[in-house]
């Protein structure tokens, strides 16, 4: 067998491994209470707390609601998987299989990505049916959701790297990161209308770019150019994934 064919076969095997991990995660973790609480209930309550009793135009609310739902759902699965596996003592067998750690983590990212993109359909439909809004640019909406979900899911996997057997510790850490970023990423008001200090912080959050793309898709003015938002989401995804590989590898044997 030539070297190229061997490499292609090895990649195919690792991709297959990632898909097996995705299937396992979907079966085991999509309906776990922490995922449902922090991934589904949280954004609903945040939305209600923000919207109830305030005269805010629907076209301003809907894009933010979609971005927020995507932020919470896509980043909810990743932080749970590794600590849960450590706690349940299934992690050691998993990492001694011929599936590489990056392939396992890619499976975890895919789990968050699919969970986030599928559930983001709900706020999109609710927005279209209940509010008087329309999607002005469907490809941009899809790009915003897909790229946002990828980078948020990668962030979730990255947050699961610290070695702990307590999933609650990681969920706490993930909320410490996710909640503050929610307020500086143009969810509740467009980035251009935020205070100056918040406008300086906004570019550091992947949520800013995803929410900006989604806002643009609904015909609202975007703060960043589309190309920049897409590029930044790609870079965030790569950064979080590579950092996940490094730190998960460094700490993989701790706390077994």
């Amino acid at each position: 067998m030539t070297g190229q064919r061997k490499t292609a076969q090895a990649w195919r095997r690792q991709l297959h491994g990632s898909l097996v991990i995705l299937k396992k995660n979907a079966r085991l973790y999509y309906l776990k209470p922490p995922v449902l609480i922090f991934g589904v209930l949280f954004p609903v309550f945040f939305f209600l707390a923000f919207k109830m009793g305030r005269p805010i135009a629907a076209e301003n609310v809907v894009p933010g609601m979609i971005a927020m739902a995507l932020w919470f759902t896509a980043s909810a699965v990743g932080p749970l998987v590794t600590p849960w596996e450590r706690n349940a003592r299934t992690y050691e067998r998993l990492i001694s299989t011929p599936v590489s750690l990056p392939a396992i983590l890619a499976g975890d990212v895919m789990s968050g990505f699919i969970f986030g993109t599928c559930l983001s359909v709900i706020p999109v439909l609710l927005g279209l049916v209940l509010a008087d809004v329309y999607v002005a640019n469907v490809p941009l909406l899809i790009a915003g959701i897909v790229m946002g979900a990828l980078s948020f899911a990668s962030l979730g996997v990255f947050l699961a790297a610290p070695p702990t057997r307590g999933p609650s510790n990681i969920m706490l850490l993930s909320n410490l990161v996710r909640l503050p970023l929610l307020f500086v990423s143009g969810i509740f008001m467009p980035i251009g209308q935020m205070p100056v200090w918040a406008r300086w912080i906004a570019p550091l959050s992947p949520l800013s770019y995803a929410s900006d793309l989604i806002r643009g898709a609904f015909g609202r003015p975007a703060f960043f150019p589309v190309w920049l938002s897409l590029l930044m989401l790609v870079l965030f995804t790569l950064f979080f994934f590579l950092a996940s590989c490094k730190f998960h590898n460094m700490w993989r044997a701790k706390g077994l």
Partner: protein, 314 residues
């Protein structure tokens, strides 16, 4: 004989602690290799290095010719692991647990379905295949882990304390299954505290102490090697000689008493037997049991690791 696992200078340090210190040995094709040692001796760390869970600090090891550091995925493709501290996925069914491991090892669909059914039958889990693993007892979960390991068609099976804490039926079934598989060519790397199990099952054993190999050989040769731990066992009907009289017999280096049975440790068992018979004759005592005993594997283990045992007790 073909070497399946080749370990050269394998070392693992945790800060200043040297958990595994320049190990070097080989495991041959088709043998059950016992890896024994007291708690904290470095057994689990060694197995974790070989199975890719942790990286060695120094040294190298190959599994089926694949270096565990340079070709980790290829080396792991040949192995299956049943760690002591591990568990099955409690929220998956018995069958789903087996399929998951088979899929992760890339076993083709048709093959894995057929093999899973066969293993479920062999390990007495066929009736429970649709049940969640959560509902299984500890013994059945261990059987399930073995099932999930074997469905991947490993060439080397790592078993860490496979029968520890199990009921008699499960322990016996697992031992029988492993022995049968070994007869068909499976190489087994067995870590255990159960000396009897190691003595009965293993072709060779290595005893690790303080991160280093203290001895490695067949159980029989290890027993013979520590000739100072051979003993003559004697039991008298009714009255017995004084403890001091037995201790002062020529060739006796140490004496232990356990429930009216005397163990006279000696390097010269033939001479001690003669002396015991002579003493009994001269005193008109009746001997009910007299024999020359080789040390058990447990005696060898205790002899070689006594320093560590004392340290652990402190």
């Amino acid at each position: 004989m073909e070497t399946v696992i080749e370990i050269k200078g394998l070392t693992r340090k945790f800060g200043t602690l040297v958990a595994v210190d320049h190990l070097a040995f080989g495991v041959y094709q088709g043998e059950i290799f016992g890896f024994l040692g007291p708690n904290g001796a470095g057994k689990t760390t060694t197995v974790r290095m070989l199975t890719g869970v942790i990286d060695p600090t120094e040294g190298s090891a190959t599994i089926q010719g694949h270096d565990i550091r340079k070709e980790p995925l290829l080396s792991r493709a040949h192995i299956a692991v049943v760690p002591e501290e591990a568990n099955v996925y409690l929220d998956l069914s018995v069958r789903q647990n087996i399929m998951l491991m088979a899929e992760l090892h890339g076993v083709p669909r048709h093959g894995r379905l057929r093999e899973a059914e066969r293993l479920l039958d062999a390990l007495g889990l066929a009736e429970k295949k649709r049940q969640k693993a959560r509902t299984l007892s500890k013994g059945l979960r261990k059987r399930l882990m073995l099932c999930a390991a074997l469905v991947t068609h490993p060439q080397v099976l790592f078993l860490d304390e496979p029968t520890s804490g199990l009921d008699v039926q499960s322990a016996r079934l697992i031992r029988r299954m492993v022995t049968d598989l070994n007869r068909n060519g499976l190489t087994v790397f067995l870590t255990t505290h159960n000396m009897r199990e190691a003595g009965e099952m293993c072709s060779r054993v290595a005893i690790i102490d303080k991160g280093r190999i203290a001895a490695i050989d067949t159980p029989e040769k290890l027993r013979t090697a520590i000739s100072s731990r051979q003993y003559v066992e004697v039991r008298f009907a009714g009255a017995a000689p004084e403890h001091n009289e037995l201790a002062s017999l020529p060739g006796v280096s140490q004496i232990d008493t356990d429930n009216h049975t005397y163990r006279l440790y000696t390097k010269l068992p033939g001479r001690v037997v003669t002396e015991v018979v002579r003493l009994a004759d001269s005193r008109g005592l009746e001997i009910t049991d007299l024999g020359n005993r080789k040390p058990s594997l447990e005696d060898v283990f205790l002899h070689l690791t006594s320093g560590s045992m004392e340290r652990n007790m402190q």
